[in-house]
Amino acid sequence: MDEMEAQPVIESSDRDLAEAVLQYGDETAFRELYRRHTPRLLGFVSRLLGRTEAEAEDVVQDTWIRVCQALDRFRWESVFSTWLLGIGLNVVRDHIRRDARTNFLDIEEVPEPPGPMQLPEDRIDLDRSIGLLPDGYRVVLVLHDVEGMKHSEIAEKLGVSTGTTKSQLFKARNMLRALLSHSK
């Protein structure tokens, strides 16, 4: 009767798939890896970027290209998704720099704190308000308050001091509260 029992589907690990891509250029393995991680990657870069869906998809594409180029250097000491999002963050920053809409650390004009956030009933409004933040503020706020990263991690990834990230976060929260109270 044991033979009649359904065999569990063995899912290839990220490492197996990545090695198939690396050694054989296996397209099927890449598609599997892509489908597994792209929704999370797209959600991450979209919120960090705060721009159109098309721009976010461009960033996702560039991220996967960089990932494939750097795959042979990945030591598998962290999980694949963390490494992927780290590369995604770098691509977002490059995109913002190229865009030159704002300088990452140049924003000094912060509105007066209006009090606690007037939290919207709809998550979309909150997301939209985050998208309206200046790039530097938004990146720190998303990494700290949405993704749950610590100041030390953010500072390391962005190549700035923890004092800078704390200052950016303070300003970002105040501006977000102002934006939400204004939208109410």
């Binding site: 891509v21 890449f30 792209t38 594409q61 606690p116 929260r173």
Partner: protein, 184 residues
């Protein structure tokens, strides 16, 4: 409220924002195409095939089967050519057969002309015999035509008319009997 810290509701609202986003249907193809163009991925059709003993044996068997099929096809085609040749020979022989029919018909008409010419001087018994032979010949010829071309209306009418009148002694002929052949 310290503006440096998030309230529990603010924290919940930010942390519960959706982390994933569904990419557009075209993004995957776009990424795969770009990676193919850069030589990172090989399309599934061009994947390297590992050579194993089983695959070599399969390839040899396929080659043998291919040769046998080719041989059988050639043999069949040559047999068809023989049949074709036979058919053309028959067609060529058809011309003298038609000619001989025409010659026999001409002889038959000449004999009838002779019969008509002597009808004034010949005794009535001989004339009656000549008429009976002529009718028999006409009936047999029409009957042959009906056997050769069953849909030939004129021949069938001649046969029916002679059978209906009971002339030429054909009324007692059995169905399916061999047609009579008149030698001139």
């Amino acid at each position: 409220m310290n503006n440096d810290e998030l309230t529990p509701s603010e924290k919940d609202a930010l942390q519960s924002l959706p982390k994933e986003r569904v990419p557009s249907a075209f993004l995957e193809e776009r990424v795969v195409r770009t990676l193919r163009r850069r030589g990172v991925l090989r399309s599934p059709g061009r994947r390297m095939i590992e050579i194993t003993g089983l695959r070599v044996a399969g390839a040899v068997a396929a080659c043998v089967a291919f040769v046998i099929c080719g041989f059988a096809l050639g043999f069949w085609a040559s047999a068809q050519e023989g049949v074709y040749k036979d058919m053309t020979t028959l067609e060529k022989n058809g011309v003298p057969v038609a000619l001989s029919v025409q010659q026999a018909g001409t002889a038959y008409i000449l004999a009838l002309e002779n019969l008509a010419r002597v009808s004034g001087t010949t005794p009535s018994d001989e004339l009656e015999q000549g008429r009976e032979v002529a009718l028999n010949t006409l009936y047999t010829a029409a009957d042959q035509m009906v056997h050769i071309i069953p849909r030939d209306v004129l021949s069938r009418c001649i046969v029916n008319a002679i059978e209906t009148t009971g002339e030429a002694g054909v009324g007692d002929e059995q169905e399916g009997a061999q047609p009579r052949v008149i030698q001139f």
